[in-house]
């Protein structure tokens, strides 16, 4: 055999060996928990790299775990509520956290709720609604993305014809891509110690990123950075809603969720997610509070009209001991917070309180059950709480507007 022919043969054999090695490595490490490979301590137990592939990872996780109770929401719930929290009543069975980080569109909640119910055993759904998703109409969603194609059923409830192809594609990409290989390496490397992010089999995430950021930068920096982001967002919402009247947008998504749950006999708990006073103040000062109150009013009316007694609605968006907790000063990297990581993401400790209030009969002064009858009263109570805490100066917010005197304060 001449040299060139031997070169080609060696190349071909090496390619085959390398390809097989990559596939086996990715299968065993399973960085996105797509295959459900055994989690081995020191090798692949923690799944830090799943953080950028939450929808992929969680869709396969939930299909394996087939929960009886499912949580739907955004990164707030992903990080802030533990599916293994002792506050979950035992009667609710296996709980799965199907909240997807990064979703700025309420329709994602309907998509994941439909998928959760399609797994076959869901009896309870707890859906956390972020008020920001109900300020301006969502853009068109043609549903043609890979997340939609991966689902068990389509919008009509019929089996999804695109699924098999998407699953094959997911498996192939999870085995044979550079990203998966690099993430496998990073997964193995992350097992060595320290505070490591982990997407657990129940869908909840550890808060290692926040813990590490707090340790290195301090809580002030984390709050300040988020506030700057949220301030820009509030400003955009203010521009987009200026002059806009009419009902709260995107409630059709909630109506869809109510109809879905009623059709499948699933008890639905809707929760308006809590935010820290910093974020609330930003939206207040951008003139969006009336829209937020209208969102609550319209939502309560919708639940009253369509809920049929199987839907409960809670509002945690207000001023209480937890949402007004002070932020450590700039430069302080030692002091922590109890309840919030920053102005929109709450800690699991607060998640525990929240669950106790929702399902444990806790009477702690956090949140309120919302109905069409009491929503006006609740809105007034939140305004009064703001008047007392923000205008009264007992709570100081950190936001970029903190140096300006609070507006809308009764004298």
């Amino acid at each position: 055999m001449d040299q060139a022919r031997r070169f080609i043969w060696v190349w071909v054999v090496t390619m085959l060996l390398l390809g097989a090695a990559v596939a086996v490595c990715n299968l065993l490490v399973d960085p996105y928990d797509v295959f459900g490979s055994p989690r081995i301590a020191g090798f692949n137990r923690l799944k830090p790299e799943a953080k950028n592939h939450s929808m992929l990872a969680k869709t396969y996780q939930i299909e394996r775990i087939r929960p009886e109770t499912v949580m739907i929401g955004s990164s707030r719930v992903h990080i802030g509520i533990d599916a293994d929290d002792p506050a979950w009543p035992a009667t609710m069975g296996i709980v799965y956290n199907y909240a997807i980080p990064g979703g700025y569109d309420a329709s994602a909640n309907l998509l994941t709720l439909r998928e959760a119910i399609a797994t076959g055993r869901v009896k309870n759904a707890v859906v956390f609604l972020d008020f920001q998703n109900f300020l301006v109409p969502a853009g068109p969603n043609d549903g043609g993305d890979e997340d939609t194609r991966r689902m068990l059923v389509g919008p009509s409830g019929a089996p999804n014809p695109d699924r098999a192809r998407q699953v094959a594609s997911d498996m192939f990409l999870a085995l044979f891509t550079m990203g998966a290989l690099v993430d496998s390496g990073a997964t193995i490397a992350a097992q060595g110690g320290g505070t490591v992010l982990d997407l657990r089999p129940n869908g909840s995430s550890t808060d290692a990123d926040f813990v590490n950021a707090a340790r290195s930068d301090g809580m002030y920096d984390i709050f300040a950075q988020k506030d700057e982001f949220e301030a820009a967002r509030a400003e955009q919402f203010a521009k987009a809603t200026r002059g806009r009247t009419g009902p709260t947008p995107n409630l059709d998504v909630v109506a869809g969720m109510i109809a879905l749950c009623r059709a499948h006999g699933v008890a639905l708990t809707l929760v308006i997610s809590p935010s820290h006073a910093d974020a609330l103040e930003l939206y207040w000062r951008n003139g969006l509070w009336d829209r937020i109150e209208q969102f609550k009013t319209d939502l309560a009316a919708l639940v009253s009209k369509d809920g049929g007694g199987a839907v409960t609605l809670w509002d945690f968006m207000g001023y209480d001991r937890e949402t007004t907790e002070p932020v450590p000063p700039a430069g302080d990297r030692r002091s922590g917070t109890h309840w919030f990581w920053e102005s929109t993401h709450f800690k699991k400790a607060y998640g525990h309180i929240l669950l106790g209030r929702l399902f444990g009969g806790s009477t702690e002064a956090v949140g309120a059950r919302l109905t069409a009858e009491n929503v006006t009263e609740r809105n007034s109570a939140v305004r009064l709480a703001r008047q007392a805490m923000i205008c009264g100066g007992t709570v100081r917010v950190l936001t970029s507007l903190a140096n300006a005197p609070p507006d809308g304060c009764a004298r």
Binding site: D2, Q3, A4, R5, R6, F7, I8, V10, W11, T14, M15, L18, G19, V22, L173, F176, T177, M178, G179, L181, A213, S216, D217, G218, D221, A224, Q225, E228, F229
Partner: protein
Amino acid sequence: MLFNSYIFLFGFLPVVLAGFYVLGARRRDWALLWLTAVSLVFYAWWRPINVALIAPSILINYCLARALQHFGEARPVAAKAVLCSGIAFNLCFLGYFKYLGFLENVANDLFGAEFVVTQLILPLGISFITFQKIAFLVDVQAGRVTNFSFREYALFVLFFPQLVAGPIVHYREMMPQFEAVRCRFDAEDFAVGLSLFFFGLAKKLVLADPLSRLVSPLFAAAGRGQPPTLTDAWIAALGFTLQIYFDFSGYSDMALGLARFFGIKLPVNFNSPLKAASMIDFWLRWHVSLTRFLTGYLYNPIVLNLTRRRMAAGKPVFGGRNTTMSSFGMLLAGPTILTMLVSGIWHGAGYTYILWGLLHGVLLSINHAWRVLRPRFWPDTKTYARIMPPVGYVLTFSAVVFAMAMFRAPTAASAVAVWKGMLGLNGIALPQALFSRLGPVADFLSAMGVHGVWSSGTLFRDSVLRISALLIVTLGFPNTLQLLARYEPAIGVRPAKQEPRLVRLLRWSPGVGWAVGLAVVAMAGILSLGELSEFLYWQF
């Protein structure tokens, strides 16, 4: 169909190669016909209508070439008329598809016209194909191409390795090869082709594409009117320069490798341009086949014509120390700027491309002026040869990077914003997370006007590390042409008489070591196929 796609690598290419070798073992002309047919499939894959658009143009050009041959030297006026018609037809064809919308935009901007901007399907690689067809007509008229059939002409235009993104080839350098090629499996050609192709694939997917994720948000922000700070502007400009560098270098290597599978050698198109020590040198290394085309078919005829006119008028012409300002302007700077303007327009239908072309024209003219003037005030060639290359390198590199900001920016205004940022005029900022870790240095930096911003420290760190690593690869390592020089990877490429030590150390050979090394490189490329992306140079 993209070279960096699963369907191309695992479907199209194996079928094409198998068909070529099997048919070639029986009859050469069947194999070449097969090559033409699969090239049409390749071209039609993305949009079948592409074939319907390009096929009549090929047919018309062939008829024009036949007419040119028919008139020959016997009827030069008629031949010239046919040639002019052919060039006009090709330019109109290109202009209609590529520039109509832009021209309507310009009319709207300049004259307040209210044209509804036309959106046309741009046939793939139309700019490359058009230039190739024009060159063919000129060569036929000049007698440089005498024998050709429709089958050969179709293969020349459609040969898929260079069909959509070059290099721009000449009939006379391709057809003798097609006539001589054995159309059989040749292990050495295959090994060389394999190496070139997978080096290119890895350059494109592993080195170039990840830069897009760093660069695009920065240019998009500049486009939205957010002026970039010093660090962001440099990351944007350097990042894009390296992105397009590895994108184009990778594509060029893939084209060379694919052609080599069939025993065909393409001309050099990319030869470490960022190692250039002058702007003239840069354009002899960057998109070499375009430079060759523009020089041969535009610049030289203009200069020749103007020189003849000036000589007829008794005016001084360009030449050495006696060059006058007017002769330099008329015979060098003017044609250079015009040629580069055409180059800019060729690259894209937009103001930024035009300005980029003009900028390069001016830079080249300055370089030429320096060559003319330097001996007058710096006659010592020894000190010049010692001092100037590194200085020239830094100047060239900086100029290229600055100009690339114009090439990439969504608008001319945003390019200017990036330039201001690169000069520090938009302020200097570092991510707060990094800033707060600098301790006493942060105080010093604050006093110097540097401040912290809430941008991602991780992204900043990754950007700096990636760009630094790629600069080391770009400037410190030999290119694929050098590594494979012993096997003539492109037409005319031979080993240098004095090969640098690193080249001698890394020199490619069909041995076990390189087979394993190439497999690693190839696997890295194949594993990166998951995220499809288009070639930057494809759109031209």
